[in-house]
């Protein structure tokens, strides 16, 4: 499965890029996180505390145990601070 992975705010800063394409066989968001964590220290650091992160699949907020299904876009970011 080919995914667009997006990062925002300090997640983007820690990983060092706003967006990347990834070919993965991950079934859940958590599988994807484990795969990213294993890549490099900056990923391990960005994903070290999942309680401080939120995830969206195809622009809808979801949980880390959600299935990726036929997702095209997964985004990771800190809790939102709008308003």
């Amino acid at each position: 499965m080919k995914l667009d992975i997006l990062y925002f705010a300090w997640v983007r800063e820690r990983i060092g890029l706003p967006k990347e394409k990834l070919e993965t066989s991950a079934v859940t968001v958590m599988d994807l996180v484990e795969e990213l964590r294993g890549r490099e220290d900056r990923y391990a650091l960005a994903f070290s505390d999942l309680a401080a992160l939120r995830v969206a699949i195809d622009q809808e907020l979801t949980d880390f145990d959600a299935a990726l299904g036929d997702a095209r876009e997964v985004a990771f970011f800190p809790p939102m601070t709008g308003g």
Partner: protein, 147 residues
């Protein structure tokens, strides 16, 4: 319903007047405006708001649609800026029009509560000491329990 995610400043006066004038069959109009606080002696130089283009509009539309389902509303307006903002500038506004004041007030509070922690915006503050991402407040998450 009008949802606008924009970099440009908006004119609260013109927006409030236009919104109210468009709903003369509604007895109650409520607006909320969020401002980058300009505190004397504060070292805040500017605020930068990042957002998730595409998801932002969807999330705001979902929140506004839910408000229209829950309360008897004539209309809803949401304007939220992103990009560089200086102290004293307006960040965002919501407006609600309803036949009765309770609906207009509650819907505006609901919009604000959800907009705070369910719309993909992130604020970063720049001071003399550097840049810092604004942390989400537990109180903002707790505010959702009301609804």
């Amino acid at each position: 319903m009008r949802i606008s995610v924009q970099e440009a400043a908006f004119d609260l006066g013109a927006e409030a007047q236009a919104f109210a004038s468009g709903h003369t069959d509604m007895g109650a109009i409520v607006t909320f405006t969020g401002v980058v606080r300009d505190l004397l002696g504060d070292s805040l130089d500017r605020m930068v708001i990042e957002h998730y283009p595409g998801m932002t509009e969807k999330a705001l539309t979902k929140i506004a649609t839910e408000a229209q389902a829950r309360w008897h509303l004539g209309d809803v307006l949401v304007i939220h800026r992103y990009g560089d903002l200086r102290p004293g500038e307006m960040i965002m506004m919501v407006a609600t029009a309803a036949p009765h004041r309770k609906d207009a007030f509650e819907a505006a509070e609901y919009l604000m509560d959800y907009l705070k922690s369910r719309a993909p915006f992130w604020k970063q503050e720049f001071t003399a000491d550097g840049a810092e991402w604004v942390a989400a407040k537990d109180a903002d998450e707790d505010a959702l329990d009301r609804w």
